[in-house]
């Protein structure tokens, strides 16, 4: 006589297979990313999700642009005027800086330094912002096929967004500066102070500048830029302004809180440095 009870393994067969596949997929993903290769599973899933996301995102942005006058009608004309004045001022500054850059490059060449590398900007639409609320990451609609590589730097007009940490042929994942796994060499942008530390995120809106020496010259309102140390981020990219400075335990080190220039909650389009 056959037992009416189904054996447990047969009863939970799909669940067991799913758990096994999940573990294998995780191990495969870690193996591929450790070797700097793209994961075919991630590529396939994103291949399905990215096109409708990108299309819906474009429709949303278009709709938002078409209807923004309803919410911001009066403010827009005022802002327009302010922006015109700001552009005029920035164009003057830009011209002066171009002159300075030419002089700087020629002096570097005279002194025998290697010529600074020219970088080009690749515009990329954001197709997913913080797809997991626990991590400050972005998915952009540019990937290996467009020349994006792991550790490519991502910026906006305001400043640094983060770096690429995973690439598929058509998309790339960006680790934002605010993520707890992020760290970038940073320094004070002031002629009399070149205090250098590490800018870290903690999944909040602010950033921390840590490992500053106790005698570091850093003040509220100072601009913080990338230091170029570490080799991933080029020097001089804007990060944020200092809003708080405090001594660390034991008084050997200092740390500072920064307000980032980039609004990480409103990213829709970014640029990848190539």
């Amino acid at each position: 006589m056959r037992s009416e009870k189904t054996p447990r393994v047969r009863r939970y067969w799909a669940a067991l297979i799913c758990l096994l596949l999940g573990t294998l997929a995780g191990a495969w993903h870690n193996h591929q990313t450790d070797r700097g290769k793209s994961d075919i599973v991630v590529g396939a899933v994103r291949g399905v999700v990215a096109p409708p996301s990108n299309a819906l995102g474009k429709v949303s942005r278009w709709f938002s642009a078409q209807t923004s006058w309803i919410w911001h009608g009066h403010a827009i004309s005022e802002e327009n005027q302010q922006l015109r004045e700001r552009i005029a001022q920035l164009e003057q500054e830009n011209a002066a800086l171009r002159e300075a850059a030419i002089k700087y490059e020629s002096l570097r060449a005279d002194l025998g330094f290697v010529r600074a590398q020219k970088t080009s900007l690749l515009a990329a639409d954001v197709i997913a912002r913080r797809p997991d609320p626990k991590f400050d990451t972005l998915v952009i609609a540019r990937g290996g096929a467009d020349g994006v590589r792991p550790n490519s730097v991502v910026v906006t007009r305001e400043g640094v967004v983060g770096r690429v940490f995973e690439v598929t042929p058509g998309t790339a994942s960006v680790l934002m500066l605010t993520d707890q796994n992020s760290g970038v060499g940073a320094r004070v942008q002031r002629a009399k102070s070149r205090a250098t530390g590490i800018c870290k995120g903690d999944n909040s809106k602010a950033l921390s500048l840590v490992y500053l020496p106790n005698d570091a010259d850093i003040k509220l309102g100072d601009r913080i830029v990338t230091s170029g140390l570490g080799g991933v981020f080029p020097p001089g990219l804007p990060i944020g302004t200092v809003v708080d400075v405090r001594a660390e335990e034991g008084n050997f080190l200092k740390s500072a809180r920064l307000r980032p220039f980039v609004d990480f909650d409103r990213l829709e389009q970014v640029y990848v440095l190539r």
Partner: protein, 165 residues
């Protein structure tokens, strides 16, 4: 098309929509730093309408979509899949053994399932800033509980369009 296949196709479409909405709009829906996890919520609520194996498969695909989109930095890809699979398996088991689908139970399970999935994830892939992480997960749990009821009715309507109401 057989009813179970039709249900499978509908669940897959639901997950895909949840993944797209999660990537595009969930971050903009934040309230005081709280962000919903639509993909996890959809998987938990969908599991209320599946048997044990079906809910485990739903959890697996939700986890796979989630992991492929979020690509957690510093590992955690497999942890996301396994944690989602285990939670949906649990929901499917409870639904089959203990209770039938009910809006209040859906609300309770959405909150408990979110907290449990994130707790399991933390167990498999510990994070640096524990307090900040707990704070964010707590807010997501609350947000998911708030969204559970409307989404539950939507899922039920979608999976059983001709059900007697």
């Amino acid at each position: 098309m057989s009813p179970s296949l039709r249900r499978g196709v509908r669940l897959a479409a639901m997950l895909l929509c949840a993944a797209i909405l999660q990537g595009l709009y969930a971050d903009s829906l934040q309230v005081h730093g709280a962000r919903p996890d639509l993909l996890l919520l959809t998987a938990i609520l969908g599991s209320l309408f599946c048997d044990i194996n079906g809910s485990a498969a739903l959890g697996f695909f939700a986890g796979l979509l989630h992991a492929a989109l979020a690509a957690p930095p510093n590992g955690g890809f497999g942890s996301l899949i396994v944690s989602r699979t285990l939670v949906c398996l649990g929901v499917g088991w409870l639904e089959e053994r203990v209770f039938r689908d009910n809006p209040l139970i859906a609300l309770f399970l959405a909150a408990l399932g979110t907290a449990l999935a994130e707790g399991l994830f933390f167990l498999f892939a510990p994070q640096h800033h524990v307090l900040r992480w707990t704070h964010n997960v707590g807010l997501t749990t609350l947000y998911n509980a708030v969204l559970a009821l409307p989404l539950y009715f939507l899922v039920r309507r979608f999976l059983h369009p001709n059900a007697e109401r």
